[in-house]
């Protein structure tokens, strides 16, 4: 057959479209990789040419070397890299998890039941504008500098977007969809469950994504103020020992973990919201 797509059979056309799609995917992946490489090259170049003082920025290779070394060497901050990562993750995920488990359903209930909204709203409006970091001193007084105190702070940071988004999401449920449930004789709770919650999920997931960002940011701040391990603590130690490489390693690891967690949330979202993609 000829080259032109007009005279292809159906199978050929499908194959053609698929190979086109593969090509674009490959191209986009390559471009992404090149982008990252480019970033590191510029960084390396800046360091090598001495454009920036080596006390302020170290080379990529040094960071990478330290990354390897820190798997077996607890110096200078006193903990292995994985221990730091684990300690941070534990706090982030426990606080964040709690925020989802409490914040999202609370938002749904407040968004759906007017009475409950009236009851909860004043409390929430007071809590909402408080910057999460300002809970740090109080939580240290209450719970020391352990896991619990920091989880608590992370919880507050993640809780607010979870609640607000699931609240707004369920509020935006289309009237006609609710009416479908009502006219089939569903109780208010059934409509809430079968119509309100599913239609709020897009917003709820957007909130969860904001929440994980907040959680991470707050976590590092909390660890800088009160901790004996963790990535924030490692960064802080790096600074006090004048070890730029350690600081940068901490930042990079935090960034990478953020990417991994976001990807996991997206997977989760695909599972619940697969219908949107198709």
């Amino acid at each position: 057959m000829s080259e032109s797509p007009n005279v292809m059979t159906n199978e050929e056309r499908v194959a053609y479209v698929q190979s086109k799609r593969k090509q674009t995917q490959l191209r986009d992946t390559m471009l992404a990789l090149i982008g990252v490489m480019f970033f590191f090259l510029v960084w390396e170049a800046v360091v090598l040419t001495g454009l920036v003082d080596s006390k302020k920025l170290c080379s990529v290779l040094e960071v990478f070397k330290l990354f390897i070394v820190k798997f077996s060497d607890p110096n200078p901050d006193g903990a292995l890299l994985l221990v730091n990562v684990w300690s941070s993750l534990l706090i982030a995920l426990s606080g964040f998890g709690l925020a989802i488990v409490i914040g999202v359903p609370l938002g749904w209930l407040m968004g759906w039941y007017k009475g409950f909204d009236a009851f909860m709203r004043p409390i929430f409006e007071i809590i909402r504008p408080i910057p999460p970091v300002s809970w740090i001193p109080l939580s240290i007084v209450w719970m020391g500098i352990g896991l619990k105190a920091k989880s608590f702070i992370v919880f507050f940071a993640a809780f607010v977007p979870c609640l607000i988004n699931s609240y707004t999401g369920i509020r935006q449920t289309k009237e006609v969809l609710k009416n479908v449930g009502i006219t089939f004789g569903a109780s208010n709770f059934t409509v809430f469950w079968k119509v309100g919650i599913p239609s709020s999920l897009t917003m709820a997931f957007a909130g969860i994504k904001v929440a994980i960002g907040n959680a991470w940011a707050t976590l590092v701040a909390a660890e800088m103020l009160a901790a004996s391990s963790g990535l924030g603590y490692m960064i802080l130690m790096g600074r006090s020992y004048g070890r730029v490489d350690l600081v940068i390693l901490g930042i990079v690891v935090i960034g990478l973990l953020g990417v991994v967690i976001s990807a996991l949330i997206s997977k989760c979202e695909d599972f619940f919201m697969g219908w949107k993609r198709l």
Binding site: L177, N179, V180, T183, F184, G185, V195, W275
Partner: protein, 247 residues
């Protein structure tokens, strides 16, 4: 007395704030009747339906279904809304099941009826698709299927075929007639299309402009299947058209 009427509408009046939509409307719908409601745009047809399903409360007057105050929890009614109302997160098949699952029908009964509807509406190839992947008219077929599958004894349809091409509309017009005959359902069918109203209805209710009153009730005594070219049909159609225009 209350036995022979499916729906009784008594002095129904509705205001939205200052906006007077329905003005002291009274009429009855017999058990098993096919009633079409026509009227100018924005006259309050949808509002009437929403009052019947208790989505809104009447300002004055009352509606009775089977002699009781209207309440969707008590009666087996189905509504086809004017706006798209398929659940976007459910597949075609799950959308069809939606109402029956709320009524907690037995699973094999649901399966049977869903299968039947899928065949009836030619949705086989769309079974596992989501509404946003379908054309407007296909999506509307889900909603009609969802309503029919309930085998309601009161079926309320608000311009259900407005989005459809003529072929599908004719097919579904006959389908709703078949369902109505088979199941003895009482049907209230709102439409802009006068030909459609005369084709379907036993009685056509013509509403005036807002605030709506009943302008006239027209009995359509033409045997079925009806022909749109039949002189009797044309006469009634022209009459209804005149009545809507002359307000």
């Amino acid at each position: 007395m209350s036995e022979e009427y499916k729906v009784k509408v008594e002095h129904l009046t509705k205001y939205f704030g200052d906006l007077h939509v329905l003005d002291d409307v009274s009429f009855n719908i017999k058990k098993g009747e096919f009633l079409c409601v026509v009227g100018p745009t924005g006259c309050g047809k949808t509002t009437f339906l929403n009052l019947l399903t208790r989505i809104y409360m009447p300002t004055k007057g009352e509606l009775y279904i089977d002699g009781e105050r209207a309440d969707p929890k008590k009666h087996n009614l189905s509504v086809v809304f004017q706006e798209p109302s398929a659940m976007p997160w459910l597949t075609v098949e799950k959308n069809l099941r939606f109402g029956m699952e709320i009524k907690k029908l037995a699973k094999d009964e649901i399966d049977r009826r869903v299968l039947n509807m899928i065949k009836l509406l030619g949705l086989e190839q769309f079974r596992d698709r989501y509404p946003h992947q379908l054309s407007m008219s296909t999506a509307q077929r889900i909603i009609i299927g969802r309503a029919f599958a309930m085998q309601p004894d009161l079926l309320l349809m608000d311009e259900p075929y407005g989005q459809m091409d003529i072929k599908l509309r004719f097919y579904l017009e006959d389908e709703v007639i078949r369902l109505w005959k088979e199941m003895g359902t009482t049907v209230v069918f709102i439409t802009h299309n006068i030909e459609e109203a005369v084709y379907l209805a036993e009685r056509v209710l013509i509403l005036t402009n807002k605030p709506a009153k009943i302008r006239e009730e027209v009995n359509v005594d033409i045997p079925r299947p009806r022909k749109v070219s039949d002189p009797e049909f044309v006469k009634i159609r022209n009459h209804v058209t005149e009545q809507i225009r002359w307000w």
